[in-house]
Symmetry: C2
């Protein structure tokens, strides 16, 4: 298994010269200067990531990282913990939101059990060929009483995510979306967001799947207590993950590192995926060059996380499901951007007069 | 040819009962309550438009309405007028932005010559089977000196648009996107926007394809003079179109009326399509029930038009190309919404426990 330090050393920022070359090509397209706005930025960054003026996206996949959370004991979620395992089974059966969106954008869905309570491996489930078991433990510890996991487990969760994403990239996946499942996981995500961005808990902690006012108060208290009890060092991404994170969040951080390491694009989803991205960014700031933010979640803290990473989301449709749905839905925008760059004629080719 | 009055009488608002039925179905989907935000609103409105709980979108098309504008004499555009005909040829050849986006979303592109200066019919152009010639005149008159067209021509442009869109809907197109091409057409669109919404010219008149500061001043003066000279009656959509509009804008108004008349969804594009929609709305306010706003244009006045129609755009990506690109790109979002509604299992089917 590759070590975290090797991974970090293997990541380079994108080469700005490719952005310039791509931008020159954009200027020749038969349309007013940069008239398709952010679509040009997307295609140009893909050129820089792929080091080509013929960017391409063929195979697409979403990797849904699943884990359970000890902090649900503090009454932070509107749903019982068994839902995590039940939803993983729904993903495998093709019946969840992420499956429907992925059929729309022609992406495959894979699920990684990073540490859910349920034991699904070995069961003869429909779709189980799309389940990978990298279970670190059956759920994290309750971080209001101590660290969610050990430093070793935190590193392992990142490396497992890195390995699973790397396999997909090596198998020819051109773009990967990150997804998550884990009842209670907006709570560790908010804790990570608060520690790393410094934004207050009133803004960073939201209703998740839909807790009521009392639930929201319990959730803010749990996050506050988790930070107080564990005192994670803000500059140490691994420690933040260990003390107030989750196994699937570490897995997502690993996916983001894998994208940058293999020089491929990754589309992150909402609140939980972005918490994972904050961990990856803390470990290696250059990862952002390879990231696209699929959407802005309805979860209020998400915008602050994206601002911290200097990422502008592609969609803003009031979504707050997770699973990878926002990232997957945005893949058609990214593919549209690629087509514009590759398929639109130049002024010269079209025989059209440019601006007077 | 059907008369405008018959069309207006044939349009009914959607039945709110279908929205309620659809909303009950949404509540059963295996996810937190309405966790996919606007995707639910889209699918529910499609249920109401199609009067079914099995909404479907199979065949998609974009109808690009093209016309030229006498007001370009006032120096309102950064591009020469010949570009209109040249771009129409680029659409037919498949080399423009709208073609690339439509390949991405699997939609066909049809172009209607509503009144361009160039004479393309009868020429043996590649792709000319996708060109329909409904030329009212080779360009409008300069509206700074009198009406852009006669009332009869205005009505004819709407009826031509209605007929062409109706043919597509009758041929089995499930969703139609409106598009436009016409050098100078942000100027009549801004005039229509200012007259109908009452928003001032400083906000409603923008840079279009990219005029400089002096061009912008000329453009504001032209719109101001056009309104002053013609004094269109704000409550009379046909008169507003005749006095300060354009043939392709009338055609777009006809497309929107056709959607509502045939009870099918229409996705409008940016500034020019929305100006056409303002005309359609002035003639028959119920049309908005059948409309989706594809994106928010970078052209500053667009937001005011959308607000007036009470439409919230699906995308906001800094696009300002027109051609129908924003509407077409949003079709994949709309299709994703349909899949969520139809394909996601219910809590019961998935065997997942709902909220505690």
């Amino acid at each position: 298994m590759m070590k975290l330090e090797e991974i970090r050393k293997g990541i380079q920022p994108i080469d700005r010269q490719w952005l310039d070359r791509a931008s020159e090509k954009t200027a020749q397209l038969v349309m007013p200067k940069r008239a398709l706005g952010r679509l040009h930025e997307i295609s140009e960054r893909l050129c820089a990531i792929q080091r080509t003026l013929q960017p391409s996206i063929r195979r697409k996949a979403v990797l849904v990282m699943a884990g359970d959370h000890g902090v649900v004991n503090a009454g932070v979620s509107a749903y019982p913990q068994e839902v995590t395992g039940a939803m993983v089974q729904t993903f495998l059966a093709g019946g969840a939101g992420i499956n429907a969106i992925c059929r729309q954008v022609d992406a495959e869905v894979f699920v990684v059990d990073m540490g859910i309570k349920a034991e699904l491996s070995g069961l003869d489930l429909p779709g189980s060929d799309h389940l990978v078991t990298r279970k670190i433990a059956p759920g994290t510890a309750d971080f209001t009483r101590g660290p969610a996991m050990s430093l070793q487990e935190a590193e392992q969760s990142i490396l497992f995510g890195f390995e699973e994403a790397s396999k997909l990239y090596q198998d020819g996946v051109d773009i990967l979306g990150t997804g998550d499942m884990g009842i209670g996981n907006t709570t560790p995500s908010a804790a990570i967001g608060a520690v790393i961005t410094g934004v207050g808990l009133d803004k960073m902690v939201g209703r998740g799947t839909g807790v009521d006012d009392e639930g929201l108060t319990r959730k803010r208290k749990a996050v506050s207590r988790g930070i107080e009890v564990n005192k994670p060092a803000v500059e140490n991404g691994l420690e933040v993950l260990a003390k107030v994170g989750g196994f699937e969040i570490g897995g997502i951080a690993g996916c983001v590192l894998a994208a940058a390491f293999h020089r491929r694009p990754v589309v992150i989803d909402g609140f939980i995926s972005t918490a994972g991205s904050l961990i990856a960014h803390a470990l290696c700031p250059a990862v952002v060059d390879y990231m696209f933010a699929g959407h802005c979640s309805e979860e209020s803290g998400h915008r602050y996380m994206l601002d911290y990473l200097n990422l502008d989301p592609l969609l803003d449709l009031g979504m707050r499901l997770g699973e990878g749905t926002g990232g997957a839905l945005s893949m058609s925008i990214i593919e549209g951007a690629v087509r514009i760059f590759r398929e639109v004629l130049t002024f010269e080719e079209a025989g059209v007069a440019d601006k007077e």
